[in-house]
């Protein structure tokens, strides 16, 4: 996914002279081909994220479309005020390409694990937040970023994630994709949780439970219409995210339902990481598994919540 997104920057740069790549201190050879073809538009500016965001704002004020790239935690935590003031307050078309969203950098520990990035980016007025699920979708997404008004936070996965998106789904910023029609259950996913949701849906189907999947690649602006359409008749709504429980996809969905429906909500299960820093290493997969986000654990949690919802009044569950 990462290589695809990077290569798309080069492709967009070839098509549009406004496109810049701005890296802090990325891996050796990042976008080498672009650096040779467009050396003036391939900028490596050092480990100075606060400055880079401000500089990208200045460039965007002059009509450029900078794609700023570094590790997700450094692109969000380190320079939050610059993102808020320089990009969001001025509403400038800077694209933040965040490597290693979620637990991609599991072995490197909590400084490198972006577990609250969606929440803090989503909180900012004018910011758009997108979490593609695989490389193919990342490519389609990048095509749409060129002329989008305002800043975009792009949360990339690891790379090598199973490709489950399809060209016929297309891609439109802010438009969710219904991957499977809803049954008693609807799972709402973002980023690479889609793959797990698909596997969980198969497991649930084997148990006779029909579970739909709404892939909410854009967490902000949330596709309210698609959400409200998809939950019709659903007994259990489950949100899946590689993120702390506060402020991410689950929060966004719950806020939207409360704002739009007020009452008569389906039972809701928010599956997420816990509200704490990870002090285990291993791999993205092992940490997700540890925190109940394997396909098996997701299916089991949904089964239990569905059973509970049938035996009691609508209620909110959370892991």
């Amino acid at each position: 996914m990462r290589n695809t997104a990077m290569n798309m920057v080069h492709k967009l740069a070839a098509r549009d002279e406004r496109v810049l790549y701005i890296g802090s201190d990325p891996g050796a050879g990042t976008l080498r081909a672009m650096s040779k073809e467009f050396p003036k538009r391939h900028l490596i500016e050092g480990i100075s994220e606060a400055h880079i965001i401000g500089m990208s704002a200045g460039l965007a004020m002059e009509g450029f479309v900078p794609y700023v790239n570094t590790i997700a935690t450094f692109l969000t935590r380190r320079c939050y005020e610059q993102v808020a003031v320089d990009l969001c307050l001025h509403n400038l078309p800077v694209r933040l390409i965040a490597n290693g969203g979620g637990l991609v950098y599991a072995p490197l520990g909590p400084t490198h694990q972006a577990i609250e990035d969606i929440a803090i980016m989503r909180a900012l007025p004018n910011m758009t937040v997108i979490c593609p699920c695989d490389a193919d979708e990342a490519a389609r997404m990048m095509e749409q970023t060129l002329d989008w008004k305002g800043p975009i936070y792009i949360r990339l996965g690891k790379g090598g994630d199973a490709v489950v998106s399809k060209a016929e789904h297309g891609f439109e910023i802010g438009k969710a994709i219904l991957m499977r029609p809803p049954g008693d259950v609807l799972m709402v996913t973002t980023g690479i949780m889609l793959q797990r949701a698909l596997a969980a849906a198969d497991l649930l189907a084997a148990q006779g439970v029909r579970a739909g999947i709404l892939h909410m690649h854009t967490v902000k602006p949330l596709d309210t219409e698609a959400l409200l359409q998809a939950i019709r008749g659903v007994k259990l709504l489950a949100t899946l995210e590689e993120h702390v429980p506060s402020g991410g996809l689950g929060s966004a969905v719950a806020e939207t339902l409360i704002d739009k429906l007020g009452s008569g909500l389906p039972a809701m299960l928010r599956l997420s990481l816990p509200d704490r820093f990870m002090h285990n290493y291993g791999s993205q997969d092992s940490l997700l598994k540890k925190h109940g986000l394997s396909a098996n654990a997701i299916a089991t949690s949904i089964e239990h919540a569905l059973a509970a919802s049938r035996s009691s009044a609508p209620q909110l569950h959370s892991t």
């Binding site: 003036k40 538009r41 500016e45 050092g46 100075s48 606060a50 400055h51 880079i52 965001i53 401000g54 500089m55 990208s56 704002a57 200045g58 460039l59 965007a60 004020m61 002059e62 009509g63 450029f64 005020e81 610059q82 003031v85 320089d86 307050l89 001025h90």
Partner: protein
């Protein structure tokens, strides 16, 4: 201890001409109307802003978005009263707007906002942002082969922020000789003296070591400022830093070098009387 620069000594004793007094009357009129404002930081800046807008910037108040205009960013946004006075005086917006300062329907807030105030190039107020934005503007001029220059006005307290020095390294890396950092070196930040809060000296050497060509000047000497600013870049291929030795609250004896006047709420009758004595009736 602060090394006493001859420019700093000159700033203390420098007299102000009628235009400088007039601009102070505009600033203090806004404070009187609003019952609030950063007085000290604005008064130390006035001559820096005045010379920029009167003599240096290639700008057209009737066409504030002219792509070829010089850019100026007030990175120390809390000094905005000085900027507002100059912009109004130069016709970017009516002088009457100054009376609405900080009012609910005013375009003029306690920090300047891009898109709200004609002539304001960037929203500032959070410190340590302007120089990076300026680097972006200057780099864009280079890439687009445009001849506009970018001036960024920084406070001395502001340059406590590490992001300023990140930006300085970036400016030097790109050899942005179309970028000028002007430091309002009044040696007094909100709490107290800069050498108590976070010592800056040797300040000129710091900017030099970060790759800037450095000029020092009495920041209230209009003629000297004109001379320095009309000769930028000081060195071809390098960004310029102009360290403007100023006096916080310059022009009001009670406010000069007095941290209590960093931000002022309602002006008392006796303070208003003292202001009239110092800058004339307003």
């Amino acid at each position: 201890m602060i090394q006493i620069s001859p420019h700093a000594e000159a700033a203390l004793t420098c007299t102000l001409d009628e235009r400088s007094l007039y601009l102070r009357r505009l600033v203090l009129g806004s404070v009187r109307s609003a019952g609030r404002g950063h007085v000290g930081p604005a008064l130390s800046l006035i001559e820096m802003v005045r010379v920029l807008y009167d003599d240096v910037l290639r700008i057209d108040p009737q066409n504030p978005q002219d792509p070829h205009r010089d850019r100026a960013i007030l990175s120390k946004g809390h000094g905005c009263l000085a900027l507002y006075a100059l912009l109004a005086d130069r016709g970017f917006f009516p002088l009457s707007e100054l009376d609405g300062f900080c009012g609910s329907d005013s375009i003029l807030g306690g920090h300047p906002e891009y898109g709200m105030v004609p002539g304001v190039e960037a929203s500032t107020g959070a410190l340590g942002h302007g120089l990076s934005i300026g680097v972006g503007l200057a780099l864009a001029a280079r890439m687009r082969e445009r001849s506009y220059r970018t001036f960024v006005l920084l406070g001395d307290g502001e340059i406590n922020e590490g992001s300023v020095w990140e930006a300085a390294m970036g400016a030097a890396k790109h050899g942005l000789d179309n970028l000028v950092a002007m430091i309002d070196y009044n040696k007094l930040q909100s709490y107290g003296p800069t050498d108590y809060v976070l010592p800056l000296e040797p300040l000129a050497d710091k900017w030099r070591s970060f790759g800037f060509a450095v000029q020092e000047v009495n920041g209230h000497d209009v003629g000297a400022l004109r001379t320095v600013l009309k000769q930028v870049p000081a060195v071809s291929g390098k960004p310029t830093a102009v360290i403007c030795h100023t006096v916080k609250g310059k022009g009001l004896p009670a406010a000069e070098s007095n941290a209590d006047w960093h931000h002022k709420n309602k002006l008392s009758d006796s303070e208003l009387d003292a202001i009239r004595v110092a800058v004339g009736d307003f």
